[in-house]
């Protein structure tokens, strides 16, 4: 009986082995991307076909899990489940998560430390390539792009847009309902506006951004949230990131916080009035990268590394990230700039200049601060 069992298991192994051998001819690289639909489009329309052309026999399959923490939470739960089940290989090769969840995934041992083994690893020079909301992710990630929030405004209605949170407050006090944002449950552009508000009025912005976490740093938050509650009485609430742009476009609000890349893309597609402009408020508004990462037990590790190396090469960052999708490059901008013509490069920085970015682009808060901030907004501003 024992022998029979052994023979049976051997034959099953052989049968499965031959199956997987025949499957080798067509390898599928499984990519899961967080973020909005444009990030999935980026892989389906541009990066995937490019990679398939360079690697015959490989098929890139991409699934989108949606924007914000929600989308990246889904991929984290998928990896956690496979880890908990004790699987030898996981079914996902490359993931594109946001900052918050990347930090949690690194802490949970779900990711592979791969960056130093790919050729483009040396281009990952930004602060966000090392730290994700206070978690050390150095070596685990390559930034795909950097994105930034800013105030979009209609110059027909506002000749001199506010340049700071202070000016915005006095402007809104004089003309109520001219400003709109999407609260904190309707997408990250609203969250970013609130975070910027807290950096301006909550005190200790450096501790909140860099750590270490200390609840005492929140001493000034109560006052800042109370002011925000008063401010909220004079603003219009918009349904989501896209909702803010829609309302700007229909002239229902004169200004509101938006994602810069989404703004440029909509404008390029003719979905947004061409006269609308951007302004980055001082003392600063947050931006965030999305990352390329490889799950700890990915099936096709070498192929995944090759895919990320291509995605973070200067040529692809120039053509795909900057030119086609209007994001700021994820890798060192100095190696991307030579690959682009001056006109395209300047278009990216027409309203928000590189010096604005250097001065006023901030990271989102440290994860524990960020959680407290959102929860206190719910208790103190929304209730």
């Amino acid at each position: 009986m024992k022998q029979f069992k052994r023979a049976l298991s051997l034959s099953i192994t052989l049968a499965l082995g031959s199956l997987s051998l025949s499957a080798q001819a067509q390898v599928t690289l499984n990519v899961i991307s967080g973020g909005s639909q444009n990030m999935v489009d980026y892989v389906t329309d541009y990066l995937g076909p490019l990679f398939e052309k360079q690697n015959p026999g490989v098929k890139v399959s991409v699934v989108g899990t949606g924007p914000d923490d929600a989308g990246s939470q889904k991929m984290m739960e998928k990896l956690q489940a496979q880890k908990a089940a004790g699987l030898a290989t996981w079914d996902t090769d490359v993931i594109v998560p946001n900052q918050q969840k990347t930090g949690e995934m690194v802490q949970g041992g779900l990711l592979l430390k791969y960056r130093d083994s790919i050729a483009t690893g040396k281009y990952a020079v930004s602060q966000s390539a090392k730290q994700a909301l206070g978690v050390n992710v150095d070596g685990y990630v390559m930034p795909m792009f950097e994105s930034q929030t800013a105030l979009a405004y209609n110059p027909d209605l506002i000749k001199n847009p506010p340049a700071s949170y202070d000016e915005l407050r006095s402007f809104v006090a004089k003309s109520p309902k001219s400003f709109g944002y999407n609260g904190i449950k309707g997408g990250m552009s609203g969250v970013a506006f609130v975070v910027g508000w807290m950096y301006a009025y909550g005190g200790n912005p450096d501790v909140v951004q860099q750590g270490p976490y200390d609840a005492k740093a929140q001493a000034g938050w109560k006052k800042a949230f109370a002011d925000l509650k008063t401010f909220n009485q004079q603003v219009v609430f918009t349904p989501g990131n896209a909702g803010t742009l829609d309302m700007l476009n229909r002239g229902e609000i004169a200004m509101g916080p938006v994602w810069v890349d989404m703004f440029h893309t909509w404008q390029a597609e003719g979905r947004l009035a061409p006269n609308l402009k951007l302004k980055l408020l001082s003392p600063g508004m947050p931006g965030q990268p999305y990352y390329y990462a490889i799950p700890a037990k990915a099936k096709n590790v070498e192929l995944a590394k090759k895919f990320i190396a291509l995605a973070t090469s200067p040529a692809v960052q120039a053509e795909g990230i900057v030119k086609r999708f209007n994001w700021y490059p994820g890798i060192d901008a100095n190696v991307v700039k030579p690959a682009l013509d001056a006109k395209t490069w300047n278009q990216l920085f027409v309203d928000v200049t590189p010096s604005d970015l250097a001065k006023f682009s901030k990271p989102f808060p440290l994860a524990p601060f960020f959680k407290d901030l959102r929860e206190q907004y719910e208790t103190q501003v929304q209730n």
């Binding site: 914000d68 923490d69 449950k185 349904p239 909702g243 229909r250 929304q382």
Partner: protein, 281 residues
């Protein structure tokens, strides 16, 4: 009707269905209800999640109850009116057109309906623009309906055909002789509807309304897309707790509250079935 049957094949036939319901519905439901009482930080069992849920989302719970009850009531009144006209209407062309047109929203998913309403009900949306060009609304006084009102409008628009389909079907299946004799004795159409037709289809009306209530209570896409800001509905808060904080405790507590609301509806539904002496439709 007693027949000697072996219970084994019968059980075997039932097993897949029972297993399916058990594994995919009863088990997760039980887990969710139980874990609403689980305190993640202490590992013990208490009402912490509930007090947090009521603290943060008390007004949302009230809004959810209000919006669903109001929408259900509107669906009831309007569906009886439409079904009544389809049954009692005397202009065959009008009846034919109404009968053809009322079903349309049935084929449109909630998320698409919500997307339509986002542009239709906005401050400078199609509705207000039309009213402005007709001179009915002053542009300065135009208001956006993208709050709880927008949700009620979307829900009613979406659930109305479903209720009309059920109620109209029941009315059509009635014995018409009573309607005709009442009309012959001089009862107006409204009186015939309220006093003759409605009492006979009452059971179906309740079933249609209860099913609509439960459907609206569970819709996530509509409040998420239509309501700007807060207060919003419970489904949105549940999604928010899970997605932003990974906090299943409070989400489960909110789910518990939502179950309690639909539980009341389910109780009516089952009672209706028992009173009729047959399983509910």
């Amino acid at each position: 009707m007693q027949r000697p049957t072996s219970s084994l094949p019968m059980l075997a036939l039932l097993a897949p269905a029972v297993l399916m319901v058990g594994l995919l519905f009863v088990y997760p439901l039980g887990m969710s209800l139980t874990y609403a009482f689980h305190n993640e930080s202490t590992g013990g069992w208490d009402l912490g999640n509930f007090s947090k849920a009521f603290d943060l989302y008390g007004s949302d719970i009230a809004l959810t109850a209000g919006v669903t009850v109001l929408s259900t009531a509107l669906v009831g009144v309007l569906s009886i009116a439409i079904a009544g006209y389809l049954t009692l209407g005397e202009n065959p062309r009008a009846v034919a057109i109404l009968g053809w047109i009322y079903r349309w929203p049935l084929f449109i998913p909630f998320v698409v309906a919500a997307q339509l309403m986002r542009t239709f009900l906005a401050k400078n949306g199609m509705l207000n623009n039309t009213l402005m060009s007709l001179g009915l609304v002053d542009p300065l006084n135009a208001v956006s309906l993208l709050d709880w009102r927008g949700v009620v409008i979307t829900f009613v628009w979406k659930q109305l055909p479903f209720a009309v389909l059920l109620i109209g079907g029941a009315m059509a299946a009635m014995d018409r002789s009573m309607i005709e004799s009442a009309r012959g004795l001089g009862a107006g159409r409204l009186r015939a509807l309220l006093e003759i037709v409605l009492p006979q289809v009452q059971a179906t009306v309740w079933v249609a309304l209860i099913l609509s209530f439960v459907t609206m209570l569970s819709a996530l896409s509509v409040p998420m897309m239509v309501i700007a800001g807060s207060p919003t509905m419970l489904t949105v808060d549940m999604a928010w707790r899970v997605n932003s904080y990974g906090d299943y405790g409070v989400a489960n507590a909110l789910g518990f509250v939502s179950f309690a609301m639909s539980g009341v509806a389910a109780w009516f539904y089952l009672r209706q079935g028992l009173r009729d002496g047959r399983p509910p439709k």
